[in-house]
């Protein structure tokens, strides 16, 4: 066989092998076989640089003693090390005579006279070395060197494939874990369980792999970071125990996590209780947790005790010098912070670790946001429901009262005429009797008109008393800020607005004077107005709420609340009836509640006005008086 045909044939076989399997060890074994068979040599070995210790490890060999398997060479050490370092092939007929030669008893190199050593090429020095040894002393030809170098090039390709494959495997595994976790999280509606599952994932060896994880949530109102959960071993011994246990649970991660979440055992841990005792205000340039919230980005702290944003106290409490923080963000709003460390194995936190953590925080944010929205929805619904019930009650009563008032009104005007003319009649009789002198008929007629006006007076009194009695809705007022009430009520609707994709625009005039209001009743009115607006905004849209001060009839000062929606308005026949207490467009419940709103506002001396623009929306104005009624209007 000629040397050139040797080259071609060998390369062809190696290429076939390289493409036949993705398992690196198997590939290397097969390549060794080909080299051993095709080249006239007695031993062959492939060394690869190990990523973690940087040494050359023997990965595959033929013709070498078994004990050679465990050999690790330093780069630069011996002929092999030299080739790895310089990336240049060496062909030595008298290997042991070479100054670079270092004797390794494991290889039993004394029996080999000649060797050819070629680097496995890469951009960075080398990935490894391929050696072939020959017992008889011989010169390796240039051709042979080129063939082996080409094979080494093939090995580089195989290695790259293998690394790629490994990375893909890792990504797949990560996706699997994320999927498992998301399933597990969906298995529970309880915030605590969901968070526990996520912290478990962060600390589980297979997934996040951090020793400990702490979770802080940001109070929506007080801007305080409150520790709510800590997951991790209480001590080094505990750590070892837990990790051993976890090792046994491999493969059944999902089920185990779900079961464990139900047990609430984490509450007993010292670490959890330690975390629950932590509370920090969010202040710029004060502490690392605040900074994570404010800058909305993760921090990887390596020298905690030297870091300006880490207090000595905090570092001592954690007991570590390295940790990382990640913000929990949903809808661009920071919900909290997760802090992780490796207290027990002291492993440095890599960028890859952090990336993985960031992915988990998405779930944590999601769980917290869901739970917040859910509980807010529950609260809001409860409050709205009770308000609504009160309104319905009041409305029923008011409907009766309104009817009575309507009837009384219709009677009153004729009574005024009857009584008024009866009095005039009596006066005329008196004039006549002066003119004509005493007359029995005139006297009787005057008496009759007396009776009429007397009875009318009686009816007037009766009606007045009836109306006072039926006048419902006495108000208890106190001085308060209208804007505060508006904001409080809008807060109740936050979840509902978000859910319905309604854009809220508020414009509340600053420094409005205080008003004397029945806060509970005004809240009812606002709830009713917002509720009606929301009902009309089924497809989302705009809700505009404004408050401002203005003049009425150039005499009175008043404060106006303006509520505008883009819900398309109401049909004219509906609009004409909106203040009618018996009128409703809904299948359940009574009217829109506007009649009772009007009553409440009127009891405050105010007035309510509704504008309807078909195709656009409804605008409601509440006008509330600023000054008290003039003295001459007081009863």
């Amino acid at each position: 066989m000629t040397e050139s045909s040797l080259g071609l044939e060998t390369l062809q076989e190696v290429t076939l092998i390289a493409n036949s399997t993705l398992d690196l060890d198997e590939t290397l074994e097969k390549i060794i076989q080909v080299i051993a068979n095709k080249m006239h040599i007695d031993a062959c070995a492939i060394y690869l640089v190990n990523e973690s210790d940087g040494l050359l490890h023997l990965k595959a060999a033929k013709g070498l003693p078994e004990k050679a398997r465990h050999i690790n060479l330093q780069i630069g050490q011996g002929v092999t090390g030299w080739v790895a370092q310089h990336g240049t092939s060496l062909a030595l007929s008298e290997a042991m005579q070479d100054p670079r030669f270092v004797y390794f008893p494991e290889i039993e190199e004394e029996k080999f006279n000649s060797m050819l050593s070629v680097p496995i090429p890469a951009d960075c020095p080398t990935l490894g070395v391929i050696n072939v040894h020959s017992i008889p002393r011989r010169m390796f030809s240039l051709e042979e060197t080129r063939v082996l170098e080409t094979i080494a090039g093939q090995v580089t390709g195989c290695l790259r494939n293998a690394i790629q494959f490994h990375q893909n495997q890792m990504t797949l595994k990560e996706i699997q874990i994320l999927y498992d976790i998301s399933l597990a999280v969906q298995s529970t509606l309880k915030l605590e369980h969901g968070l526990w599952i996520i912290l478990s994932a962060i600390t589980m060896g297979e997934a996040g792999g951090f020793n400990r994880a702490m979770l802080f949530t940001l109070g929506e109102k007080n801007q305080q970071l409150q520790g709510i959960m800590g997951l991790g071993p209480d001590s080094h011994e505990d750590a070892v125990r837990i990790w051993t246990e976890l090792d046994k649970k491999k493969g059944n991660l999902l089920q185990w996590v779900i079961n464990e979440a139900q047990r609430d055992l984490h509450r007993d841990s010292q670490f959890h209780n330690f975390v629950c005792g932590l509370n920090y205000s969010v202040i710029p340039n004060d502490n690392i947790l605040s900074e994570t919230v404010l800058q909305k980005k993760p921090f990887n702290i390596t020298k905690a005790r030297e870091h300006p944003l880490v207090s000595q106290e905090f570092a001592d409490a954690l007991g570590v010098d390295s940790f990382a923080t990640v913000p929990l963000i949903a809808h661009e709003e920071v919900l909290g912070v997760i802090l992780v460390d490796n207290r027990y194995d002291q492993k440095p936190i890599t960028e890859e670790n952090l990336r993985f953590l960031a992915r988990f925080t998405v779930y944590a944010s999601w769980v917290i946001e869901n739970s917040r929205l859910f509980s807010k929805l529950l609260d809001t619904n409860r409050e709205l429901l009770s308000m609504k019930e009160q309104l319905v009650q009041a409305e029923r009563l008011s409907a009766l009262g309104e009817m009575a008032a309507e009837v009384a009104h219709e009677i009153k005007n004729p009574l005024v005429s009857i009584g008024g003319f009866a009095r005039r009649l009596k006066d005329k009789m008196a004039d006549l009797s002066q003119k004509w002198g005493d007359n029995e008929d005139l006297k009787s007629a005057a008496n009759y008109s007396d009776i009429i006006s007397g009875e009318v007076e009686r009816l007037e009194r009766l009606l007045k008393n009836t109306l006072i009695y039926s006048k419902s809705g006495a108000i208890e007022t106190e001085e308060c800020q209208l804007n505060k009430l508006v904001e409080e009520v809008l807060y109740l609707f936050k979840a509902g607005l978000y859910e319905k994709n309604i854009n809220l625009i508020t414009s509340l005039e600053a420094d409005l004077p205080l008003l004397n209001l029945d806060q509970q009743k005004i809240k009812q009115v606002l709830i009713n107005l917002f509720y009606n607006a929301l009902e009309s905004l089924t497809l989302g849209g705009l809700l505009k709420v404004e408050t401002f001060q203005e003049d009425y009839a150039q005499k009175q000062k008043m404060i106006t609340v303006r509520v505008e929606d883009s819900g398309g308005g109401v049909p004219q026949e509906v609009f004409e009836n909106i203040f009618n207490p018996f009128f409703t467009t809904k299948h359940t419940g009574t009217g829109l509640g506007l009649s009772i709103c009007r009553k409440i506002i009127e009891n405050h001396g105010g007035t309510i006005r509704v504008e309807n623009q078909l195709g656009k929306g409804v605008t409601v104005y509440l006008h509330l008086p600023l000054q008290n009624s003039p003295d001459y209007y007081k009863n």
Binding site: N413, S417, G420, F421, A553, Q554, Q556, Q627, Y633
Partner: protein, 131 residues
């Protein structure tokens, strides 16, 4: 002679007020709704207006606002069948509020009281810039 405009949608009430007030020596004109009121006001500004609140179309409170905005600070007495509007702050822009009754003494007293009030702006001035 003081002039009074009575606005009420009930014909008999207009009649009653006119008779009674003329007997007391006032010159009385009547209108049955807001529209008529402004037709009259375009020709002549009275010294006092008695306005019923509950009327079809523009109610008395609205008529009052329009008068105060457009015709100046003519004294206005608002009337209603019951006292339910006493708490309505818009009513406070009027000069008095009287609950209707077959007994007209309260109304008459109020009229006298208004005519005797010290005049900040003379009644009948129809220039809003006087405010």
């Amino acid at each position: 002679m003081k002039t009074i405009l009575v606005v009420d949608d009930e014909q008999n009430i207009r009649f009653l007020y006119k008779e009674e007030l003329e007997d007391d020596g006032y010159q009385v004109t009547v209108a049955s709704n807001g529209e008529e009121t402004f037709k009259i006001l375009d020709k002549q500004i009275p010294d006092l207006i008695i306005l019923d609140i509950k009327m079809p179309g523009m109610d008395g409170i609205e008529v009052m606002r329009k008068i105060k905005d457009e015709k100046g600070d003519i004294p206005i007495i608002l009337c209603s069948a019951y006292g339910q509007y006493k708490q309505d702050f818009r009513v406070w822009a009027s000069d008095a509020y009287v609950v209707k009754s077959a007994d007209l003494r309260e109304l008459k007293l109020t009229i006298k009281e208004i005519f005797n009030r010290p005049k900040v702006n003379g009644p009948g001035q129809n220039d809003p810039s006087n405010y």
